[in-house]
Amino acid sequence: MLEFLGIFTTVEFYIAVVQMTTPILLAAMGGLIAERSGIIPFGMEGMMLMGTVGGVIGSGLTDRVEVGLLLAMLAGVFIAVLYAIMAVSVGANQVVTAVALNMGALGLSSLLYVLAFAGGKGEVIEDVIRVRAMPLWKIPVLGEIPFIGKVLFNQYPLVYLAFFMAPVVWFILYRTSWGLKIRAVGEHPHAADTVGIHVLKVRYLTLIVCGMLAGLAGAFLSIGAFNAWQENMTSGRGFIAYTSIVFGRWEPIGAFLGSFLFGAADALQLRMQTQNIQVPFQVMVAFPYIVTVIVLVLSGKSAKWPAASGEAFKRESK
């Protein structure tokens, strides 16, 4: 039974931790910016799903990963803008809108995949279509360090971007006037409005950033760690990213730790599956989600949400 402890001695496990953390972290950073401006980033799952298919289509049709990444961002932004129109401009209920968009993205991503690779005939694609995936970038010198070099500095470019985003988001939030506006809009939009801040503009922009990052997070799944697409490829990682934000109390460093925790849980279940350990496969797959529930139960009560999160902003009638 204890043989699974052997997992912790392998370098592959730690590489997997970093790689499983990456999509959650990328999405969490985008969602964090959005929620600090007062929009619940519940639609991240849909943005990520669209990112997975955008990435695979771009890379598959042009054989260039950059095009895949660009298309993934656009696809994420597409959902984000739809969400913004509903949640920010119209003032619809954010959770309901997000649920609808997530379900819509699930269907739309499959449709786009079929349209792109079955010549527009809408046929069922039987075979897995392999596309070009991101190369590993080995960082000179640092990449040579034993163990750490392999885990941290011989990774995909999006891994570096994800880990770089945490301090960047922190800096934007706390050391720039942009961040000050975002925080003010998320806590007290009326006060922000009276000093001349465009509340709706700020919320649109944060959602677009969220869409870009969540789209990239999706692309990491389809053309980063993997080189093909499958339906519902994110399998709830957008929600897990949101959980990381709650776990981290809406602070970039906290959300980083949260993403890392879930990434580690994910990596552990993957490694356990390959180790042929006598635990039912479903239990292992469920493991990260069980961690999610436990974390939410533990942190939910004392969590301090941005005060205006989830509330549409409307000026008094003129």
């Binding site: 706390y174 720039t176 003010a184 007290h188």
Partner: protein, 522 residues
């Protein structure tokens, strides 16, 4: 003095309401100009038109002699107009400095440069008696200091005209005095101030000129030297007002509420009520005087069961009521007017009729088994609306849509229509205008005549003096002394409110001191 702002024939209507009706107003440089009027007279609406929150339907605004168009707050700020709203527009988790520069370009966009802002805030603080720690977070600051931050925010944007909407409503008497000092310092530096209020003493105390609004129209503008409180009250309300309540002599009946050596711990974990003893009888108003925050709210809450007593005993109509649930106490014939009607007194999103039966909906005639009886509820609420003169378009209207005075009438109607044996009225006139205050006073006196024992908690000494049969003065949770209401000496009560002297608990006091006190007051 030169003219800074002039309004010409400003009209503003909302669906079904004329809020401002051809209002003219002129503000001079360096003056404190009071805008006096009852709630709903159109003071705030008029100022919101100046500040760009609303667009007037017609009329002109002149700034320094030039006609200007103010479409939004940004335009007003750019001209040099600052406004401190009644509900502060500050972001609680941000620091003072962050709130002050919010929305302004920084020196090296987009990078924040808080150190230089903090220094500038400190300098303005020195200049205008506005001392604030620029690094403190807003939620940590008392409201009086938060108000300073709002003023600093306007000054940082180079305001030449500062509009203050009911600035004293949230302040303690000491903070009010400090605010007046700040305003004087500001006018000495050439700023003009528009002071929205419905409190006559404040107008007389601090303003140069006063414009009175009534029903959306400007009644008149007067220099302070040419007016007096009685005249202003008449202009404001449109009829003679009783600034002093009309009270009949009634012998007190049997003891209803008896409080013995009561102690309780307040919200901050510190003792808030310490060893308090007193009795309230039928046909008697027992006033609790004291500066806000001295445990009077907690005293009311402990008696009504919202706060746990840590010692002592509460007896209501001979029955032990110590640490009973609010529900049990309610059923002992106790009515409560809580100090914050919006948080504790009413369900703001509920209709008027639902609020009226909120403390009796489960009982006949309003309920039969699990069903509400609409007919009975309608009958009751229509009668209550008529009897208590609640101005509402109908019983099904949400309470949050009513004015503050009418919201309080809903609370009073609910509490008094059950003819309570004991009424705990905690700050029942807070935030109300002259007419509504007069109304509440009349209702309290009517309840007294109907045989209720009334515990009347207020921070307004005037109304304590005019209504109470006996007065207990509270300071830091302790009763400093109990005096008869008739012929009570303001100076003596004032000293006790400041914790200076404890008179004998009872009605007598040393003759010599009484003489000294009356000499001092004369």
């Amino acid at each position: 003095m030169t003219e800074l702002l002039r309004l010409e024939k400003i009209c503003k209507t909302f669906p079904g309401v004329v809020a401002n009706d051809h209002v003219d107003l002129e503000i001079k440089k360096g003056e404190i100009h009071a805008l006096l009027g009852e709630n709903g007279a159109g003071k705030t609406t008029l100022m919101n038109c100046v500040y760009g929150v609303y667009r007037p339907n017609s009329g002109k605004i002149f700034w320094k002699g030039q006609e200007v168009e103010i479409h939004q707050a940004r335009d007003a700020i750019a001209l040099g107009i600052g406004m401190v709203h009644q509900h502060f527009m500050l972001v609680p988790p941000l620091t003072v400095a962050e709130n002050v520069i919010l929305g302004l370009p920084t020196r090296h966009e987009p990078f924040l440069d808080l150190a230089s802002v903090e220094e500038k805030i400190f300098e303005s603080g020195q200049k205008f008696h506005l001392k604030v720690d620029p690094k403190a977070r807003i939620w940590q600051l008392p409201v009086g200091i938060q108000q300073r931050v709002e003023i600093l925010k306007a000054l940082y944007r180079d305001a030449e005209l500062l509009i203050l909407d009911e600035p004293t409503a949230v302040l303690t008497p000491q903070e009010v005095e400090e605010l007046f000092l700040v305003l004087e310092a500001l006018t000495e530096h050439g700023l003009s101030i528009i002071f929205i209020t419905h409190k006559l003493e404040e107008v007389m105390r601090s303003c140069n000129r006063v414009s009175v609004l009534r029903d959306g129209r400007r009644v008149d503008t007067l220099a302070i030297e040419d007016t007096n409180p009685q005249l202003l009250a008449k202009m404001m309300v449109g009829r003679e007002v009783l600034l002093k309540a009309d009270k009949t002599d009634l012998p007190p009946g049997e003891v209803v509420l008896s409080v013995k050596e009561l102690s309780a711990i307040g919200g901050r974990g510190l003792p808030a009520v310490k060893n308090v003893s007193f009795e309230v009888r039928r046909n008697e108003i027992f006033g609790i005087a004291g500066v806000d925050g001295n445990g009077q709210t907690e005293l009311g809450e402990t008696i009504s069961g919202l706060l746990r007593a840590t010692g002592g005993k509460v007896t209501i109509s001979g029955k032990d009521a110590t640490n009973k649930t609010p529900f049990d106490i309610l059923n002992m014939g106790v009515a409560v007017i809580p100090p914050d009607r919006q948080k504790l007194g009413l369900l703001m999103n509920f209709a008027v009729d639902e609020n009226l039966i909120a403390k009796s909906y489960w009982k006949p005639p309003f309920s039969k088994s699990i069903f509400l009886r609409k007919k009975e509820i309608d009958k009751f609420s229509e009668k209550a609306i008529k009897d208590f003169n609640i101005r509402t378009p109908g019983p099904e209207i949400q309470v949050k849509l009513l004015s503050g005075g009418n919201q309080q009438k809903v609370v009073i109607a609910r509490e008094l229509s059950k003819n309570p044996d004991l009424l705990i009225a905690s700050q029942p006139t807070r935030g109300l205008d002259v007419s509504a205050t007069e109304y509440v006073h009349k209702q309290l006196l009517a309840a007294r005549e109907a045989g209720a024992a009334i515990l009347f908690i207020s921070t307004e000494l005037e109304e304590i003096l005019s209504l109470s049969d006996r007065i207990g003065v509270i300071y830091e949770g302790e009763i400093m002394g109990i005096l008869p209401g008739k012929g009570a000496n303001i100076l003596e009560i004032g000293e006790m409110m400041a914790g200076l002297r404890r008179s004998n608990t009872g009605s007598e006091q040393p003759k010599k001191e009484a003489e000294n006190a009356s000499e001092a007051s004369a």
